[in-house]
Structure formats: C-alpha cells, structure tokens
C-alpha cells in the first residue's frame, strides 16, 4: 500500500464511520474521485487528441496524393497534357498546364517547390481539369457528384447502423432462441455477399424482371432539377434500389457485432442488478444492456466505415448513380488521372470527417473516455 493510497483509505474510512458527516468524503475527493472541471478537461483532451490524429491523417492523405503520381514511372503530367490536346484537338491553355503540373509534377521544379505549389492549389480547391470532360475543372465535377453520394451513403449508413444494431440487440438478448439461430447465420451469409453483386441481383429482379425501379441514374432526366415535388419524387424512386442494396449488404456486419457484444454484455453484473431492481424488461435492455453493448460499435466504426464506403462506391457503379463512386469508376476506365486524384482526395477527407464524428459521438456516449489509440 503506497502512502497516498493509505491516506485515501483513511479519508474514505473516516467518512464511512462518520456516516452523518456527509461532506467529508467529497471534500477530500479521494482516490479516483474527480471533480467536474478536471473531467471536462480530460474529455476535451481526448477530443483534441483525436482531432490532432485526424489532422495528421489528413496531412498524410494529402502527402500521399501528392507523392503517388510522382512515384509512378514516366512523366504523368506531360502524358496528361498530351492526352488533353488529343481529346480537345487544341492547344492547352497555360493556366490549365500550370494546374496539371501542380498536381502531377513539374519537371523544372524540385519536390519542395512542387509541394508548396500543390498546397497552394489545394487551398484554392484547384484539383486540375478533367481529361474526359475537358475543360470542366475536377472540383466542379466532384462538387456536383458529392451531394448525391452524401445523400445515398449517409442515409444508408445510418439506416444500416440503426437496423443492424437494433436487430443485433434482439438476437443477442435472445441468444440461443430460434430467432437467433436463424437470424445470425443468415446475416453471416448476407454480410458475406459482395455489395455490387447484390446490386446486380436487385437490378435484375426489381429493375429488369419486375420493372419496379429504373435501371440506371439518380433522377428522371426529363424533369427539371430543383426543389419541386416531381423531381424529388424521382430522386426517391431512383435512389430506393441503390439505397436498399447498401442497407441490405451493410446491416449484417453491425448486427453480428452487436449480437456478440449483447451476449457478452447481458452477462455483466450491472444488467443482473438492473433486473434485480425490478426494472421493466425494456428498460433493462435499452438503458443497461444495449446502451453499453453499442459502445464498441463506435470504436470499430472506422474499420467498418471503410468497407461501407468502398461497397457504396461499387453500388453506385452498378446503378450508374451520379455520385462520387461512379465518377471514380469512369475516371478509372478512361484513365482520367486528374479526376482520380481529386475523387480520392475528397473521399479520403470525407471518410476522416465521418470518423471524427463517430469519435465525438463516442465521447458523448461513454463517460469513461479512454484513449484507445
């Protein structure tokens, strides 16, 4: 027993004996008792550390994006400029040339100068010019596609999380029941199916055979874009099948994780005690079992999110959905390097942002903020 521990024990002990001297223990703040101010600092400290990590990760992504084309054999910027001239049949304007060289490397400059120029361009959100859609800037194409992807992937990720987590709690609570013994292996299968294959099947069954949904696109091209009811309805109609596909493929992973966590959590003493208190079953499940079982879902969010985003990008491709994924697919197929670079950068930054959001939510949900790395 160390001296401090002993001192704490005395203080604790003294307060225990002097039951009526209620203030004694709190005044001393013994042992792990932590005042609110310190707590707040710790909590913010955790968030700041995460923020620092994501800033570093974003920097790494930018450096990677800068280095990748320069690590490739040959001189990508000259190749792209040539390609641009071939496609457009005209001389590339000097500012476009400058922009392309900023991103893919300028043979006349050293790496340091190049990086400075690259950062300057990023600050102006100049991602170069698309080869295929010359002379449209990449940033414009990306900004056009981004809302579609955010809408599709954002809503489906949340939906899949809610659905999977909810069903996972039920399966875990009733572990060993018939529901569990059917649902769990079935989801193991569902979560093993590649997204784009599910997408193909859905397209074939509901689009081709049954004809309930359109086969491609994000909206009815005959309608005027804007906030009018027919257009929004067509967005819903076109988005339903891709969204259903993503939810269908993604919820299984959450379910299995949540199911196993719930099985482990319901055996915790605090759940037993909640039952002993005579609380209603719903309260025990929600506020005690599920509330704790869902925490690892947030720490594991980063790893799961990568898979979801990858899958969603592939799904967009199947449905020719006008989002980032389809843009990436097109740029890959047509070797549109500026677009590839731009899309990759945006997807990476968006993923980092989503992870930061999940981390912040975790801080709200778990008072025992522990730095897990």
């Amino acid at each position: 027993m160390t001296t401090t521990e002993a001192a704490a024990a005395i203080r604790d002990g003294g307060a225990a004996g002097g039951a009526m001297a209620a203030g004694a223990a709190a005044g001393g703040g013994p042992g792990r008792g932590v005042p609110g101010a310190v707590r707040a600092v710790r909590r913010w400290g955790f968030l700041l550390r995460r923020l620092g990590f994501y800033a570093a990760a974003a920097a790494a992504a930018i450096v990677l994006n800068f280095l990748l084309p320069r690590l490739m054999p040959g001189d990508p910027s000259s190749a792209i400029v040539e390609e641009l001239q071939r496609v457009s049949g005209q001389q590339v304007p000097p500012e476009t040339l400058e922009s392309i060289r900023g991103i893919f490397g300028d043979p006349d400059q050293n790496l340091g100068q190049q990086f400075v120029q690259y950062l300057g361009q990023l600050a102006r959100f100049d991602l170069g010019v698309s080869v295929v859609n010359f002379p449209v800037p990449v940033s414009e194409l990306v900004l056009e596609a981004l809302p579609w992807t955010l809408l599709l992937v954002g809503t489906t990720t949340v939906l899949a999380f809610v659905l999977g987590t909810g069903l996972g709690v039920i399966a875990g609570w009733k572990a060993g029941s018939r529901l569990d013994s059917i649902l769990t292996p079935l989801t193991a299968f569902l979560s093993s199916v590649p997204y784009f294959w599910v997408a193909l099947l859905a397209l074939w069954v509901f689009g081709f055979v049954l004809g309930w949904f359109p086969l491609s696109g994000g909206y009815d091209a005959n309608l005027a874009e804007g906030f009018n009811l027919p257009f929004l309805a067509s967005v819903l109609h076109y988005g339903a099948l891709p969204a259903a596909t993503i939810v269908f493929s993604a919820f299984g992973g959450w379910l299995l994780g949540m199911r196993n966590m719930t099985v482990t959590t319901v055996r915790e003493d605090y759940v037993l005690l909640a039952q002993a208190k005579g609380l209603s079953r719903g309260r025990v499940i929600l506020r005690y079992a599920a509330r704790n079982a869902m925490l690892p879902s947030f720490t594991g969010f980063a790893m799961a999110l990568g898979g979801v985003i990858g899958g969603a990008l592939l799904t967009e491709t199947v449905f020719s959905y006008p989002g980032i994924g389809y843009l990436l697919f097109e740029s890959l197929n047509k070797r549109d390097y500026p677009m590839m670079q731009g899309v990759f950068l945006i997807v990476t930054l968006a993923t980092l942002l989503a992870n930061l959001l999940a981390d912040s939510l975790y801080v709200v949900l778990d008072p025992r903020i522990r730095e897990a790395g």
Binding site: A60, K174, S181, S192, V263, M303, N333, R335, Y337, T351
Partner: protein, 327 residues
C-alpha cells in the same frame, strides 16, 4: 492445444465452415484439370454455336455472351480468386505481424509510431486507395493486384496482433526472461509469437476473404488482368455485356454465390473461434433448457419444476457460464 483443436472441431459452425473452405481449395487446385479432362471444357474457348445459352444438360450453368461455359469459368475463377486471396493474405498477415508485434512487445515510443501508422491505414478508405494505385499501374496482373491488396490491407490485423502481443508481453514469464537478458528477437519470435498463433490463423482467414472480395471489387471496376479469369472478372464481364438487361442471370449469379459461400464459411469459422476464446458467447439451445425442466418435472422431485419452468423462461437470457462459476 490438441484439446482446443478438438473443442474447435466439435462445433457445427467450424466444421461446416472448414468443409466449405476445403471444398473450394480443392476446387482451385484440381478443378481446372478436372474440367479440362472429364467433360473436356476450356473456360476460354468461345463456342460460337452456343452464345448466351441458359443452363442446360450440355452446359450446366449456361454460356456467356462470348460462348464460354460458365461452369468451367467459375471453376477456373476459383483458382484466380483464391490465388489473389491467399497471396494478399500472406502479405497482409506478414505486415500485420511486422507492425503489430513490435508495437505490442516494446511499447513506448515504438508503439506510438507503429500504432499511429496502423491507425492511419485504418481510417483511410482502403478500396479507393487500392484503386488509385492500381489505376496508375497499367496492365496489372493478378500478382500485382494481390500485392497491392496485401500492402494496404494489414492495418486491422496489426491492431489485433498489437493488443494480443501486449498482453502476452506483460505476462510474468516474458517479463522474467526479459529481466534475465534474453535477446528481444528470441523472445519475440520464440516466446510471444507462438502464443498468437490462433489470432494469426483467424486473421489470415479473414485476409483471404478480404483479398477475394477486394479482387472482385477491383475487377468489377475494370482493374484486372485482361487474360485472367476470376470470380470478379466474370461479374465484370457480365456487367459490361449488360447481362442484367439481357436477363442472363446464370452468368453473374454463380461467381457471386461462390464469393458469398467462401466468405460465409470464413465467418462461421471465426464465429467458432470467437466462441472458444470467449466462453460467454457460447449459448445453450433453449430446447435443451426446456428438456431439462421437463425431465425434472416428470421426475416430480419436488413438484415445483413445472412452475420453475414458467418463471425461468421469463428471464429471457440464455448464456452458458462455466459450471460452478463462484467467483
């Protein structure tokens, strides 16, 4: 160890999973030879008299738009997909060990840096990353694709290895040997690493599946060896030839189903491994619980067993705890 292995093989999940995996491995090894010699089918041969035919006695799984036999292609694709899966898993697992093991064992600054590195790769969207790298490498073969997948797919495993290495490294026997001045490399590879075999095996399995899935995704986006056949290239070819719009489901259903089967099998095996390492996950079938109550009831030992049954059911939770878990 052998007792563990016996326990592992007892569960139906592990047995079913391993059987399916073994089947596909055998198919990858001997399938192509079998298809070539028995029905005399060549997955690459174009039969212009049989274009886009539905399944029939002659072509069990039908033919593609190019007049190729889908069954022969699926079998040949097993080889391509599993090759990429295994190679990428070998690379990914090796990298995960290389990063995770020293991080967990040495701790301190080494850990900070290595852990930062793996966290970096965890939060990066791996598929776009692989895509863009593969996009720069023109004319990629299956080898290169497996390499890239392995190179970018190690981070989750490294995290697991790190955590496990950390817990093993803090055990008394390792600490004692460290105090005695045993060289680090000996401790790392002869003492710590052997304790992680189970985790590494599970990781490798996940890696194989991840590799198969990633290859399929890449191929679907057109990044593949044009000459190679894998489940991914089949689906991609089907997509490109608008198999959906032609209603040629037999073209893209079999390869996808194979991927799903292999991945499900791996999930089942991992389930079994989880249940073994975490006994709390083991559950008792409710029918068994009921049977015990009924048996006790019919024996009429105290006349209250049937009533016991009605209340126990209300408890709602079935979970196995080790008998006599007085703690």
């Amino acid at each position: 160890m052998s007792a563990v292995r016996r326990d592992l093989l007892r569960g139906w999940k592990v047995r079913a999973g391993l059987s399916v995996l073994a089947f596909f491995v055998l198919l990858a090894l001997f399938g192509p030879w079998l298809t070539a010699s028995v029905p005399g089918l060549d997955p690459r041969a174009n039969d212009l008299t049989a274009i886009g035919l539905p399944p029939s006695a002659e072509h069990w799984l039908g033919t593609t738009q190019f007049g190729q036999d889908v069954l022969a292609q699926t079998i040949e694709g097993t080889r391509g997909s599993l090759f990429v899966g295994f190679l990428s898993a070998v690379i990914g697992t090796a990298l995960a060990i290389l990063v995770g093991l020293p991080a967990g064992y040495f701790g301190g600054r080494t850990d900070s840096w290595l852990n930062f590195l793996s966290n970096l790769f965890i939060v990066m969207p791996v598929l776009p990353l692989i895509l863009i790298v593969a996009g720069y490498m023109q004319g990629t073969g299956l080898w290169v694709i497996a390499l890239i997948i392995g190179f970018f797919g190690w981070s989750g495993g490294a995290r697991t290895i790190r955590a496990q290495a950390m817990s093993v490294s803090n055990r008394d026997f390792v600490l004692a040997m460290r105090t005695l001045g045993e060289p680090h490399h000996r401790l790392l590879f002869h003492e710590v690493l052997p304790h992680l075999t189970g985790w590494i095996a599970a990781m490798f399995l996940q890696g194989v599946i991840g590799g198969v899935m990633a290859e399929a995704g890449l191929a679907f986006l057109g990044i593949s060896d044009s000459g190679a056949i894998s489940w991914g290239t089949m689906i991609q070819a089907a997509q490109q030839q608008s198999a959906v719009l032609r209603g040629m489901w037999w073209w893209f259903v079999p390869p996808g189903l194979c991927i799903a089967l292999v991945a499900t099998a791996a999930t089942l095996v991992n389930f079994g491994v989880d249940e073994l390492s975490n006994p709390k996950l083991r559950t008792v079938r409710r029918s068994v619980v009921r049977r015990t109550r009924d048996r006790a009831g019919s024996a009429g030992s105290a006349g209250s067993a049937d009533r016991a049954g009605s209340t126990d059911r209300a408890d709602g939770v079935v979970g196995q705890s080790p008998v006599g878990s007085d703690a």
